[in-house]
């Protein structure tokens, strides 16, 4: 997640490997010549669950649905907002939504307010 509220990874200019979360070195070839990679805002679900028992930070949100989504070449996990478990399938399409920059700044220490999430699209 960068300052403009976009989900990012990095791409290695030497060997073209892509990685997320962003890091200062290519894990495949150790090159430090990396460029930002903006992840697509749409993707598909590869795995999912619905959490009923959480830690204190997320306990007020239960139950909540989570998934790993494939966004282009990269997979990321996240909460699926506005969905019930019965609506999800492996292969379901999602789009990524991100929190407004101002909202992010005001609650940077609030662990239960993720910076991005998924929504099912038909």
């Amino acid at each position: 997640m960068n300052e403009e509220g976009k989900l990012t990874g990095v791409s290695c200019k030497s060997c073209r490997a892509t990685m997320s979360p962003p890091r200062p070195v290519c894990s495949r070839c150790l090159s430090t010549d990396l460029e930002w990679l903006e992840l697509p805002k749409v993707g598909r679900i590869v795995a999912f669950s619905e959490i009923h028992v959480a830690n204190d930070a997320f306990q007020s949100s239960v139950p909540y649905v989570v998934a790993i989504a494939e966004l282009g070449e990269i997979k990321v996990p996240g909460i699926v907002k506005g969905a019930e478990i019965g609506q999800l399938r492996v292969g379901s399409n999602i789009r990524v939504e991100t929190r407004e920059a101002s909202a992010r700044e005001s609650s940077t220490n609030d662990l239960s307010q993720p910076a991005y999430w998924f929504r099912l699209v038909s």
């Binding site: 979360p21 999912f48 669950s49 959490i51 028992v53 959480a54 830690n55 989570v66 662990l111």
Partner: protein, 386 residues
């Protein structure tokens, strides 16, 4: 076959909610059992102490090795705490084997413990989340049950496994634990009870999940040529593996293939000069029921994608092709996280010596232990022989 090290003796506390004992007292309980099984041994011969423990969150106590050395009268011998989340126990064993194999010491003590029941379920959930990726998993509220649950939904979609298969892992392991007097959950359950139990992270329910346990386990490890001096009935470590994978489940090409488990099993088989088919006894990391199915595939007991088929055929029962988790596994024996790898050794050692009573696996020559930390992120395997 080369013997890497000998297991002179083992000890394990009763696993469960041990409200009356703290972590160090649990280690004493386990140690005294192991000590009674040894002979011709002077405590001054124990050259080093390796202690697996997952988290200081539970008791606010690190430096457990120092306490163990003091309480058991082993000072001034040195110790080290071994961390690898739930793999800590097997990693402590591994370091102990490497120590005597190197010739540095003749005898070492390896231990594992966790005292978890002081904390609420929410606190334990949080302590375990520290073994997942902070940036994307913890900040998005992913609990460990949900990470294993995602392996399950991916496996179900790809290979046709079902919630009933997951439930049947729990039913089998409770049946085994019913005959294990040290098990945390010594009771029989039915498939319906599992399916109707409270959802933790769908499709995983309460009875798909290992309990929050207190417990400790230890082993006294020596060089193979000294085994008969210290023990009337030693077993031997003849192979071991140690492999890794990404901390985040999402970073993997296939989220329902535990590649580090597969690699660590292959490494151990190769070192021992055996194959998966030679293994008729295994203790695997069923922290959640789906993972027993995945471990069976990665160990080569079933083809990739067919772990649930092996289960349906009854081949993982005691008396089947390979008895998986005859102790009851993490699921029913219990899962005191840092101790678990050594609880697995405790079962294999006793099974291979024919000391397991009503849950005895007949005729086993080799036992495989798979212990892992994170979501199959750090894996240590051992092959034990009699």
């Amino acid at each position: 076959m080369r013997k890497l090290a000998a297991v002179a003796s083992v000890g394990m506390s009763k696993i469960g909610k041990r409200t009356e004992l703290n972590g160090r007292e649990l280690i004493v309980e386990a140690f005294l059992e192991a000590w009674r099984e040894c002979r011709n041994i002077d405590r001054r011969e124990i050259g080093a102490i390796y202690v697996g423990s997952q988290s200081e969150t539970y008791e606010h106590q690190i430096m457990y090795g120092s306490i163990v050395a003091d309480w058991l009268g082993l000072l001034p011998k040195g110790s080290v705490r071994v961390e690898g989340c739930a793999a800590a126990g097997a990693l402590a064993l591994r370091l102990g084997v490497i120590d005597v194999l190197s010739g540095l010491n003749d005898v070492v003590l390896v231990c594992g413990l966790e005292k978890m029941s002081l904390r609420t379920t929410s606190q334990v959930t949080d302590a375990l989340m520290a073994a997942s990726d902070l940036a994307l998993e913890q900040y998005n509220g992913l609990t460990f049950p949900s990470i294993y649950a995602m392996m399950a939904t991916a496996h179900m979609a790809k290979y046709g496994s079902r919630e009933e298969d997951l439930a049947d892992v729990a039913v089998k392991n409770h049946k085994n634990a019913y005959h294990n007097p040290k098990a945390h959950l010594q009771k029989l359950i039915s498939r319906d009870e599992v399916l109707r139990s409270k959802v933790v992270a769908w499709p995983l329910k309460l009875y798909d999940s290992s309990p929050i346990s207190d417990g400790a386990a230890v082993a006294i490890i020596t060089r193979p040529e000294l085994a008969k001096k210290y023990s009337a009935s030693p077993t031997y470590v003849i192979g071991m593996g140690h492999k890794g994978d990404t901390i985040g489940l999402y970073e993997r090409d296939d989220v329902c293939w535990p590649s580090a488990v597969s690699e660590a099993c292959r490494e151990a088989y190769s070192m021992a000069g055996i194959e998966a088919d030679d293994v008729s006894l295994a203790e695997v990391h069923d922290a959640f029921t789906i993972n027993e199915i995945l471990n069976c595939e990665a160990a080569g007991f079933a083809r990739r994608g067919e772990g649930h088929v092996l289960l349906r055929e009854g081949q993982t029962e005691i008396g089947g092709k390979v008895a998986v988790n005859p102790s009851g596994g993490l699921k029913a024996r219990g899962h005191p996280v840092g101790a678990t790898g050594l609880c697995q050794l405790y079962e294999l050692h006793n099974q291979l010596l024919g000391k397991s009573g009503q849950r005895q696996v007949p005729g086993a020559r080799f036992g495989l232990a798979i212990n892992e930390g994170g979501s199959n992120s750090i894996v240590a395997t051992h092959i034990i022989s009699n």
